[in-house]
Subunit: 580 residues, 2 copies
């Protein structure tokens, strides 16, 4: 049982059938076709040689396949993580240098170690501390940064790397005279092909009588078609030499060499913070897609097991000349819709990519970088998320504000600081909300036992008995606010003799709040008011009894229900008094 | 009215009587007698010349008297702030150097500016984000550090300043041969006198038939007696020359010169973080004592006005060669019990201290530093707070842990990092608590309309209807936890058809939680379970209606009460069904 937790493959392998294999095989093939150009493109985005993206798409997929709890997650290089790698290493070394490469490997190794550590420490829940609006704002901004980072490949002239889009655009416009028309045309055609396959092809084929499954499969081949056609065009017309079109050129063929990362302490210190962020962000993207796919087939995702699997995948990447990987959103969706039923699909993908590296790299020699850039642009376009902003704005301006703030924080402060600011912001927003609790004075609804907010309902109240419902747990940040609010009401209403705090929404009282509560009892007593409690929750009551709080409270009492309290304290609105 | 907010003196000045003056005069005198040696002692603790402590006890008191909203707060140098000043400047300059002095003045100016800024921005509530256990752990640790920092004066040989008590003790023991017996004896006698006056004198005098008021007043003179007797002893026997007893020696007589702080940008950058912490810690000490004294006489404290008054006081200190000041605990208590009825008492104290500086500084020439150190040790002994730890431990181990952690953080990381760690810790603890909400499955109590936790009460439930009460507001950090918990229960109980979430303890649902809730509805629907809500709070319902959440919910319903829900869904336990 417990072994099954750590080796999810024991769940599916024993009952694995030939038809499962057929399904996984098809899905694995489609993902491989998609992953070869994507992997190379993301490697370039990360400032690494194209082959690194392919190396990162072999061993990591196998490790994840053996350990992952998701049946459909497709692991490999992804856009945002690649961008984070670029922005980290960009400050340490010259892109393409040995030190840069060593940094990428070290990032993979460290984030692998961090993910494993989090998994064994079972602290997967920590990632929940990034709110959805913050994640949405972060991805939209990251997508923009990624998109514009490809401008240099699309226009065919060099633009210095910068996380400030404005700088990138300004530089591009001021140097537009250097535009390489051929490159620009290739980029345009690539975009056309990709978009056409994305939106039109499946439908067109079906109208032409092709079976839906096949049509969908073909539609996934967009990147392959773009890559093939553009590569051939460059090769035939020798555009790389005649028109200065930048190409991928030599990719060493053969499997990546097994090698340990270089343990350079200074390097480790430099990249450790980034590695932590990469782990968190990567895990977030991965777990969210894994969960949404699993729920479609009623499968369970074990967050801590996912941490272990992704950790192993990244360690695997670092041992085979790769760079940080995680579960990609679009890729996993393709894997899922293409019919992957078990992680074996990932293993098949890995094998096919290994074959590509061994046999087909010469075919990729003339592949224009502009086409890879086009693939990136189309991929990240999906990340720009306006819907969440609209929804948040309609539902809660504060949440919408935190989304917008994160968005601009990422665009101005850069990707790392941006997401840290976002996380801090969402926590601050929550503390702010809970630091000034909503309090409602309640009264009796007709002759019922229901008591509701006097401002919202037609209710009867007793000027001598003030019943306040506190809509928040009591803790250090809101305890002073509560005290001031209560004392203010007492000051306004001198005729009050009894004050009942309704605790139905108080889920805990921390030590600071307890202290304040005891002070409050004293102060109310000084001003001739007795404090009572009603509807105290079981867990809260247990604690209060443990420290004999009730001795402080007397003559005040604790009532099971607010009606019980009113019956005892307010003959006025509940008939003759009786002891509760 | 509004003017009265900003000039509280308009509250009391118009109705000021001669008897008020008599009371304030007595209190002012007693505080002055206490403040002269204390001010000098704390200045030495801060690594500053003794007179700086006196300068900081003149203008700041007058400014606070004019602006403060507390009637009894006694402003001036205090132990913890002095320690923070020492630990900040100790890293920047040689104690006693001009740069060190300039730093102290700049700290006063900056924290004054920060306090004013917070006051006008009306963000006084921010200080609530330090929990009581954290503050208690912080003060206890600070008190220890302060006490041991005086060891060198008590033993009469130099011990290098260190925030590590262990280092201080080790150094003291290894150099104990350098002990200056005379100094040690003076220190011992001073301690005896101070403790005797503190605990015995008042009682003894009353037994001897002295009126209580007078006896108490005399008891306050402990520091004066210690200072006078020891000074005379040193002077008569020439202990400073014959026995190497360290004395205060020359104190420039005359009022402090008016002077602007030196605006050295580098210096400002160096001390700004410390200035912020000093403002927060100082304000915390001040506001807590002001509140507790005010409540004894039913007076109100306006936190934002206090920020402004303390800000002005510190600016005042910086313009008259002083250093950061705040409301002291013991001193304010003395002021209060000595009968101060208005802030005019502070102004009288200030005048008396000004006179001292002009006329009596020569009398302080032979004052031994050992006596001042004894005064500090006795003063900070009160700060060591074991009771709060005991209470917290009995009530909530987590709070107790945060107290202990802060205590050791301050002792090991030093005063600034220590309190930052403490604040972070208390917030983390709160987030941790709310990130895994308590959820209770409830059932009907007999034939009543009450529904209680099935684990705590004898109740009837319906296997087809699961009613869960969520005891926490729903926000990004606990939403995944809720989802997992709910889906797990559904998986365990296949016969469930309806699931009712009881929202009586849910005070808000943020955008992330809303998203999860909508996903949850879908997933439950997929597994044939209908989700309903019950007892949704007014403010929460308003938001949900605004975005037509109910359309997502249908066929699920929102019930006013859990009983209404059970009547509609569970004929089994509520008789014939009817539409709610």
């Amino acid at each position: 049982m417990n072994l099954k937790r750590f080796l999810p493959l024991l769940e599916w392998l024993p009952s694995y059938t030939r038809s499962d294999f057929a399904a996984d095989g098809m899905a694995g093939l489609i993902v491989a076709i998609m992953l070869v150009p994507q992997g190379m493109a993301y490697a370039l985005l990360a400032g690494l040689p194209a082959e690194v993206g392919l190396y990162a798409s072999i061993v990591p997929l196998i490790f994840y396949g053996l350990l992952g709890s998701s049946r459909a997650l497709a692991v490999g290089p992804v856009a945002i993580v690649s961008l984070m790698v670029a922005s980290t290493l960009g400050e340490l070394a010259e892109s393409g240098s040995a030190h840069y490469l060593a940094g990428a490997v070290m990032l993979a190794f460290l984030s692998g170690a961090i993910l494993l550590g989090m998994g064994f420490a079972r602290v997967g829940f920590l990632v929940n501390f990034l709110s959805h609006p913050v994640i949405s704002g972060f991805s939209s901004a990251a997508a923009l940064i990624i998109g514009f980072s490809q401008l240099k490949h699309l226009l065919g002239f060099d633009i210095p790397r910068s996380h400030l889009i404005t700088e990138t655009i300004a530089h591009a416009l001021s140097h537009i005279s250097q535009l390489n028309i051929t490159t620009f045309v290739i980029a345009g055609l690539s975009l056309l092909i990709l978009l056409a396959f994305k939106s039109r092809v499946a439908g067109a084929l079906q109208n032409a009588g092709v079976a839906k499954g096949v049509a969908d499969a073909i539609a996934k081949a967009g990147p392959l078609v773009a890559v093939a056609s553009m590569t051939i065009a460059v090769w035939i017309f020798g555009l790389n030499t005649n028109a200065g079109v930048k190409i991928v050129a030599d990719i060493p063929s053969g499997l990546p060499p097994l090698s340990l990362p270089v343990f350079d302490m200074e390097l480790i210190r430099d990249v450790l913070p980034a590695a932590t962020l990469i782990s968190v962000v990567g895990f977030l993207e991965s777990i969210s897609v894994a969960k949404s796919l699993a729920s479609k087939r009623r499968q369970k995702i074990d967050a801590d097991q996912e941490l272990i699997a992704l950790g192993a995948a990244n360690i695997g990447a670092s041992l085979t000349g790769g760079y940080p990987v995680t579960g990609g959103f679009s890729r996993s969706l393709v894997n899922f819709t293409a019919g992957a039923v078990t992680p074996f699909a990932s293993i098949i993908t890995a094998v096919l990519i290994a074959l590509t590296v061994v046999l087909f790299t010469p075919l990729l020699y003339f592949l224009p970088k502009a086409t890879l850039a086009a693939i990136i642009v189309v991929a990240v376009a999906n990340l720009i998320d306006v819907k969440t902003l609209k929804d948040a704005w309609a539902y809660d301006k504060a949440d919408a504000a935190s989304l917008i703030a994160t968005f601009f924080a990422v665009l101005t402060l850069g990707i790392e600081l941006g997401i840290i600011a976002g996380a801090g912001l969402s926590i601050a927003l929550y503390l702010w909300r809970t630091s000034r609790p909503h309090m409602a004075v309640v009264g009796r609804v007709g002759e019922t036992e229901h008591y509701r907010n006097v401002l919202r309902h037609e209710v009867q109240t007793d000027p001598r008995v003030l019943a306040i419902r506190v809509d928040e747990s009591l803790y250090f940040a809101n305890t002073a606010y509560l005290e001031d609010a209560v004392l203010a009401r007492i000051a306004d209403q001198p005729e009050i003799e009894h004050m009942v705090l309704i605790m139905s929404a108080v889920n805990f009282i921390d030590a600071s709040a307890l202290e304040t509560l005891e002070e409050l009892i004293e102060r109310l007593r000084d001003s001739g008011v007795t404090l009572h409690l009603a509807e105290v929750k079981g867990p809260v009551m247990d604690r209060l009894e443990k420290i004999h709080f009730l001795d402080h409270l007397t003559p005040g009492q604790v009532f099971l229900s607010i009606h019980g309290a009113m019956e005892a304290l307010s003959p006025g609105i509940c008939g003759a008094p009786r002891v509760a």
